[in-house]
């Protein structure tokens, strides 16, 4: 793995983010305010948590398309466990997260035990988990949670949205793991050459199993936060979130073929997308214009850093 080129992409992206922030704050004086920025943090937490786990998964050369469905399943189960089964809410949330984690574990088991390519396996469970959410919910939503529950999704701690603390903690822990531990090294090794990793005595299967489980866990936690933020459960929650998360990860410089990528890159990519969504909206650009621009930024950013890298190494 080439540290220099990695740094280059992230530096480039960070510069781009700074430029975007400056330009956007000239477009609207309400953009670069503490309250707005914190609020954006609230809105990007679910995608952020998923994207962090997704960074690991993609760095091993895998992918997890089922995260949106796991999020939906967890949301539904939180409601169902609490209202229909009558568990205390904290227990219900934990049980639901456990099921979501199990769903991730099932992905990992299918991928490692049966050698199914991750894209195919999670494409199948994308349908399966969403289907379970729909079946279990019977199209009913669960509402009327106690007020304390909303602290997670709508409240603040020390003036900062609660879930932003969670995201920040997750990001820091994850980046340390990926950059400085042997688990992180194993992730990169698997992503670069799985066969050689296995021949080197690394526990490839266990690592992958753990990562998909972690991805399920992250999606599950995001699901509970989501429920708390919007006060209700629906079986269609989180539809399409996998593409948003993958966009952030890829924009952040993680190679879709595995072997490279950093959490810092993912977080910068995530912030860039969120800043564009918010700032452009404040500047009067409609949602469809924003979507187009994000698409263009994604292509151009990767193009630019490709060019950078090539001119650098040759």
């Amino acid at each position: 793995m080439n540290w220099k080129s990695l740094l280059r992409h992230e530096t480039f992206l960070a510069l781009l983010l700074v430029v975007v922030l400056i330009v956007l704050s000239f477009q609207s004086d309400r953009f670069f305010t503490v309250s707005n920025l914190l609020n954006q943090g609230r809105l990007m937490t679910e995608i952020g948590l998923i994207a962090i786990a997704m960074t690991f998964v993609i760095a091993t050369g895998g992918i997890d398309l089922s995260v949106g469905s796991i999020l939906g399943l967890t949301a539904i189960l939180t409601g169902v466990f609490w209202q229909n089964i009558g568990m205390p809410l904290p227990l219900a949330a934990i049980a639901a997260i456990a099921v979501g984690t199990l769903a991730g574990f099932a992905n990992g088991a299918i991928i490692t035990r049966f050698n199914v390519p991750p894209l195919i396996a999670t494409l199948a469970t994308l349908a399966l988990y969403r289907g379970l959410a729909e079946g279990i919910s019977q199209a009913r939503s669960v509402r009327g949670y106690p007020d304390w529950f909303y602290v997670l999704g709508q409240g603040e701690v020390l003036g900062v949205p609660t879930q932003l603390w969670i995201l920040a903690a997750a990001a820091i822990i994850a980046s340390i793991i990926l950059a400085y531990t042997r688990w992180g090294r194993t992730v990169y090794a698997i992503g670069s050459n799985e066969v050689a990793s296995r021949f080197s005595g690394l526990s490839v299967e266990k690592t992958k199993l753990a990562l998909y489980t972690a991805s399920g866990f992250a999606a599950a936690v995001a699901g509970v936060i989501f429920v708390s933020r919007v006060s209700t459960t629906r079986s269609d929650m989180g539809t399409g979130i996998e593409l948003d998360a993958i966009t952030a990860v890829v924009l952040g410089g993680t190679s879709i073929f595995g072997g490279r990528g950093t959490i810092a890159g993912t977080m910068i990519g995530l912030c860039l997308i969120q800043a564009l969504k918010n700032g452009l909206s404040l500047a009067g650009v409609k949602g469809d214009g924003t979507i187009m621009l994000i698409g263009a930024v994604l292509i151009l950013a990767i193009l630019a850093s490709n060019l950078f890298e090539r001119s650098g190494t040759r």
Binding site: V116, I120, G135, S137, V250, D288, L293, G295, I299, I302
Partner: protein, 333 residues
């Protein structure tokens, strides 16, 4: 060209090296056979529950109602075989349908309205292919971006208006030839042509080579970049053809595309046996897989599966197909 060397072999050629016909069929078309078996099994079971399932009408619904997905999946299969992927095809079909319908309503000759989506599809995908091949951006990144651009652009431009008053002669998907619905005929003809082309043309084989080992393909003298652009362009043409079926099925064209159409198309290709890593698979598989999905969708209604659990059952069936394939592979090696 004859062989250069003619050393006498030190021992006589051992005969009968080729395994039997069925073994080879199973080795070459294993996943396709699994999917086909699943379709046949579904037909048998559901027909026993409700014989109307194999009525001519229902067969038409199953085979031609989803033909446009099958046609799009042919191009997708080629792209995936070459080692790439396209997540923007759904948005592209939306854009192309709007263009086609607008032209038809504006009074242009019908053939222009039919040709336009094919040409525009090729042009758009030429750009995508160019970015993938020459700028070396991974295809998933390019198409993820293209997806956003086209989806946003479509709404920006159309503002969401539907296209109505389509001239009846434009609606080719509603017509039939020799008593068979046009979408069915188009799907079968395109699948067969594409399958032959992938198997018997040097171009088709080069796609397998590139997908299997791009570096080796380069060393073999295959112009990898140009072929990559070409396969995206062909995929664009198939997207255009799919669009024609899609846009002429009904008397109105919706400016939004079915949600997750790209995932449906990709799923069809990979369930049909196209290796997501590139280098193997056939377009027959992708068409069979589309038929499988359509059959499942129809079957679940026929056997009165609670609509709430429908998606779960579909997911389970997809998973079962995938696992069956893996077990088959294990058995073989």
């Amino acid at each position: 060209m004859s062989a250069v060397v003619d050393l006498p072999p030190t021992r006589p050629a051992s005969g009968a090296q080729r395994p039997g016909f069925f073994r080879r069929l199973f080795a070459d078309y294993g996943q396709e056979l699994v999917v086909l078996a699943a379709v046949v099994a579904l037909f048998i079971v559901v027909t026993m529950v409700n014989p109307r399932f194999i009525s001519a009408n229902n067969l038409t619904t199953i085979f031609s109602g989803n033909a446009y997905i099958a046609v799009a999946a042919i191009g997708m299969a080629m792209v995936i075989i070459t080692g790439h992927i396209d997540v923007s095809v759904g948005a592209l079909i939306g854009v192309l349908a709007t263009i086609s319908g607008t032209l038809a309503v504006a009074g242009y000759p019908i053939w222009i309205a039919w040709l336009a989506p094919v040409l525009v599809g090729m042009a758009v995908n030429a750009c995508i292919g160019g970015l993938v091949a020459y700028a070396r951006i991974p295809s998933i990144v390019v198409t993820l971006g293209a997806l956003s651009i086209m989806r946003g652009g479509l709404i920006s431009v159309t503002g969401g208006t539907w296209i109505t008053n389509l001239p009846p002669s434009f609606l080719i998907a509603q017509k039939s030839v020799l008593g068979l619905p046009v979408p069915l005929v188009v799907m079968v003809v395109l699948t067969v042509l594409a399958a032959l082309w992938m198997r018997y043309s040097a171009f088709g084989r080069s796609l397998y080579a590139i997908g299997g080992n791009a570096e080796a393909a380069l060393a073999t003298g295959i112009p990898v970049e140009r072929r990559t652009v070409a396969v995206f362009v062909i995929h664009g043409a198939f997207a255009g053809l799919a669009t024609i079926l899609f846009a002429t099925q009904l008397q109105v064209i919706q400016s939004t595309v079915p949600p997750n159409l790209e995932l449906t198309v990709i799923t069809a290709a990979v369930i049909g046996g196209v290796s997501i890593l590139g280098g193997s698979g056939t377009v027959i598989g992708s068409t069979l897989a589309t038929i499988l999905f359509a059959t499942i969708g129809s079957a679940l209604i026929f056997v009165n599966v609670s609509a709430y659990w429908l998606r779960a059952v579909i997911g389970l069936l997809i998973l079962a197909t995938v696992l069956a394939d893996m077990l088959r592979r294990r058995g073989r090696i």
